[in-house]
Symmetry: C2
Subunit: 151 residues, 2 copies
Amino acid sequence: MKELRHLLKTKGDLPLSRATVISIMYCHSWIKDGLLSTLKTYDLSIEQFNVLRILRGQQGTAINLQDIQDRMINKMSNTTRLVDKLIQKGYVERNICKNNRRKVEIFITSPGMKLLENIDPVIDLKEQQLTSGLNSKELEILNTLLLKLKN
Amino acid sequence: MKELRHLLKTKGDLPLSRATVISIMYCHSWIKDGLLSTLKTYDLSIEQFNVLRILRGQQGTAINLQDIQDRMINKMSNTTRLVDKLIQKGYVERNICKNNRRKVEIFITSPGMKLLENIDPVIDLKEQQLTSGLNSKELEILNTLLLKLKN
DNA sequence: TAAATACATTTGTATATACAATTGTTGTAG
DNA sequence: CTACAACAATTGTATATACAAATGTATTTA
């Protein structure tokens, strides 16, 4: 808590709930910047990268926009345009769904797969660096607490 | 970890480093949305709210743009325009610094102070709700681990 | 089966953010 | 004291995000 007050340059006391909220914000900002600096090499935003990984997780089967949105970390409001960007770059394709012409089928292309294969080890390393301040036991606890907080 | 895999709808195993990164992302997204839904009532973004609190922390003395930026949680790239918005709304004022005409002095107005006084209890309550999934001891540990992670 | 409703995505518009280039000011080396 | 570098903020441009309205399709119901 002293560290956090120092970070915020404040003297007043912080309620534990506020301190926690702020700590999560700081931590997220730091991690986001780290990941982004890596992804920038590949001209991808974090959201674009996440969508590519969701599509890869489909193992070839197509997925529609809503299902993508449901699985995204940030429930952002314009997945159409995010997918547009990935199409422009040639990493995904989009077809109108035959069974239900309101829906679209989206799937990752082989250039998209190849890109992910290139990025995978780099991001793995980055994630390890970003979490190297804690040992395995501590990371387990952190994970558990974060998941418990939200549920 | 099982919960996280379920959340991500993935079967493959997650390295602990990646799981932690993703947990922080999820948690942040959830907290951000919660705070934003409260602040929307007052037509403020989270960043605008944070800047107002930074200015209040100055206790009347002015502060320049760079110092604001240093204290912000997200190191965003356009504090000028963020402050412009707050000026438009009448919550802050900006003067050119006498000693160094390159700098600007920014301070909170009394309508700005009044707004914060109104928001304070509402945000306090919201933060307590958002962290109610963990008890005090757990929150302490979570805080400690988050701070340690980044340093 | 025609009209109304719900659904899935797209488009329009406003605001927010990222980054580079520019403006105006100050400090400093020759 | 002039030229040059460093500094602090602003502006321009591109992209990202949020939200509402619109489009086109499918389903329900009267």
